[in-house]
């Protein structure tokens, strides 16, 4: 099946939904093989099929795939840096 959605984008609700307020962020949840969804961060019962995300009204893009990936890269670099610092301190401690 043709993939209509972009991986790792982030969306925001433009209007209130029942029990879910406008502004709520939707992030990719691909834990279900073959049926990726964008799921509400704070109201996880709320979801939108990733295959239909580009036809779903009342949402807007918050972050593109590149921005999300860039953030993930930054987080990865930070974590690696922290691991490195911990490793250096641990090695010093051993000496």
């Amino acid at each position: 099946m043709e993939r209509h959605w972009d991986f790792n984008m982030q969306y925001k609700l433009k209007v209130d939904f029942p029990d879910v307020p406008a502004g709520e962020i939707l992030e990719l949840d691909d834990s279900n093989p073959g049926h990726p969804v964008y799921r509400s961060v704070n109201y996880p019962y709320f979801w939108v099929s990733a295959n239909f995300i580009d036809t779903f009204q009342d949402i807007e893009v918050v972050k593109t795939e590149e921005e999300v990936l860039s953030e993930l890269e930054d987080q990865k670099a930070q974590i690696e840096s922290q691991i490195s610092e911990v490793s250096i301190k641990a090695n010093k401690g051993l000496k």
């Binding site: 939904f17 093989p33 073959g34 969804v37 709320f46 939108v48 099929s49 036809t55």
Partner: protein, 487 residues
């Protein structure tokens, strides 16, 4: 290919989301419908394909009758899970389907069998998430099976949606391409018990032959069973029973809708304070042959009709607030109307209107407005300005109505030149027969074609006042009534 607009999907209480669920005998003729049954016709776990439309199985069991049925591929490494239509039968081990499904050797799939609930077709929502992406496309028909009765007992729902966060969004129908998506009850009216919201932000659907039974849900009570969050619904609702069931629920809230031949009732009692039967709050609506009775709130509320609304041939009886309340109406788009309605025995006013837009832009004609007998109630109440001002605005829009048995008939407006004040002689209100007696025979403003002597093709001759026309042996009386009202 893909799923065609003429696809039929089947939902049965004994079905399962894992079934194929669909049959398209139009695009792929010659087969037998195996979707309208609880269990799948064939289940396989060794489906094999090599990036082509051909699918094989060593176990096999394919038949020529399976052409047109849906194969639901649920899993398999390398398989693109989803719903595929069997295009051709090659042999017991080989079929072709409408499109390529990947390269795999252990695909798991089922052919035939109905789904268990319409959330199989959801593309989002605040409810239970189906396992696979919806197969639904514009033009499709969803057949929802009932248990045989056209008015099943409230104690025996065919489908129950739990209270809580359960509602769904679905693909929209498309009146320009593919057509509306139809949700049709069959085998009687299926009874759906639900927290007063099923579909949200979904447009272009047709709902027919359903019975809806809400449960109290503070968030959803005001939304109705299907809602487009303030946008036009572009939908039709027909032959639906909604039982408020003592809750606060509203049958429909929104606009851009045609509601015909429906009954909105409340058999659960309760005190005044619930939402109305129908609340038009945007885009206008056409409401015809609808019976709204015993609701805890108004019968019909026009909260804010930006476009035209037409209420015609409706019975609005015994509701605990106003029969019809028009609180805001934007005249920019033309003249709306309330015609040939019977508005009887509501506990507050029969028709309550805030002008001046409604005075100038709403026709009220051929209605029986009767028995609003609670002290302080009016048949027709205008809440703004004076009779002098309102009469000048009204200029004959409100005429040919019959007012009888109200505590008072008019407030802040004068009687129409042809208004009557006679006993409508309802045949049997206890038995819900609101047909009128000879007092109102031929008293209505003549309408073409249902009863005008100016219409040479008419065999009826005249129009009575009220929603239910008299029938007389040997001709006469109003147009033959073929509507829905249960008597």
């Amino acid at each position: 290919m893909a799923i065609a607009s003429v696809m039929n999907w089947y939902v049965r209480a004994g079905g399962a989301e894992t079934n194929g669920g669909g049959y398209d005998g139009t695009t792929y003729p010659g087969g037998v419908n195996y979707a309208d049954q609880d269990s799948p016709q064939l289940s396989l776990s060794d489906l094999t394909s090599s990036n082509s439309t051909t699918i094989t199985s060593v176990t096999g069991g394919f038949t020529a009758n399976m052409v047109g049925n849906v194969l639901r591929i649920a899993s398999g490494t390398g398989a693109t899970t989803g719903y595929y239509v069997i295009a051709t039968y090659v042999d017991t081990n080989t079929i072709t389907v409408d499109r390529v499904s990947g390269t795999y050797t252990a695909g798991v799939g089922k052919i035939g069998g109905a789904h268990a609930w319409i959330n199989s077709y959801a593309n989002g929502g605040g409810g239970t998430q189906p396992v696979l992406t919806t197969p639904l496309v514009a033009g499709n028909t969803i057949w929802l099976r009932g248990a045989g009765s056209t008015d099943p007992s409230n104690s025996s729902p065919d489908y129950t949606v739990a209270n809580g966060t359960n509602y769904w969004t679905f693909p929209n129908g498309n009146i320009n391409s593919g057509g509306p998506i139809k949700l049709y009850g069959y085998n009687g009216r299926p009874l759906i018990k639900f927290p007063n919201l099923i579909g949200y932000t979904t447009t272009g659907w047709v709902f027919s032959n359903l019975k809806l039974l809400p449960q109290n849900s503070p968030t959803y009570d005001s939304l109705g069973f299907w809602n487009n969050a303030g946008g036009a619904m572009d939908s039709k609702i027909t032959d639906v029973i909604y039982d408020q069931n003592g809750t606060n629920g509203v049958f429909f809230n929104g606009g851009g809708v045609r509601i015909t031949n429906c009954e909105a009732r409340n058999t659960g009692g309760g005190t005044i304070g619930g939402y109305p039967g129908i609340n038009i709050n945007s885009y206008g609506a056409y409401v015809e042959n609808v019976w709204i009775h015993d609701f805890r709130g108004n019968g019909i509320t026009i909260a804010n009709a930006d476009f035209l609304f037409n209420i015609r041939g409706c019975l609005i009886t015994n509701n605990l607030a106003y029969g019809i309340q028009i609180s805001n109406n934007n005249l920019s788009y033309g003249v709306s109307s309330i015609q040939n309605c019977t508005i009887d025995g509501n506990k507050l006013d029969g028709v309550r209107i805030a002008g001046p837009n409604a005075l100038y832009g709403v026709i009220l004609r051929n209605c029986n407005i009767t028995n609003h007998s609670v002290s302080g109630s009016y048949g027709l109440y205008v809440s703004t300005d004076s009779a002098t001002v309102n009469d000048a605005l009204n200029i004959g829009n409100w005429d040919y109505n019959n007012f009888y048995g109200n505590d008072s008939n008019y407030h802040n407006v004068s009687a129409g030149a042809h208004d009557l004040n006679v006993d409508p002689q309802y045949t049997n209100t206890a038995g819900n027969d609101y047909s009128v007696g000879t007092n109102l025979k031929a008293k209505g403003f003549p309408l073409i074609p249902i009863g005008s002597t100016a219409n040479p093709s008419s065999t009826q001759g005249y129009t009575d006042i009220g929603a239910v026309q008299r029938q007389e042996s040997g001709g006469g009386g109003g147009a033959t009534y073929t509507g829905f009202f249960i008597q």
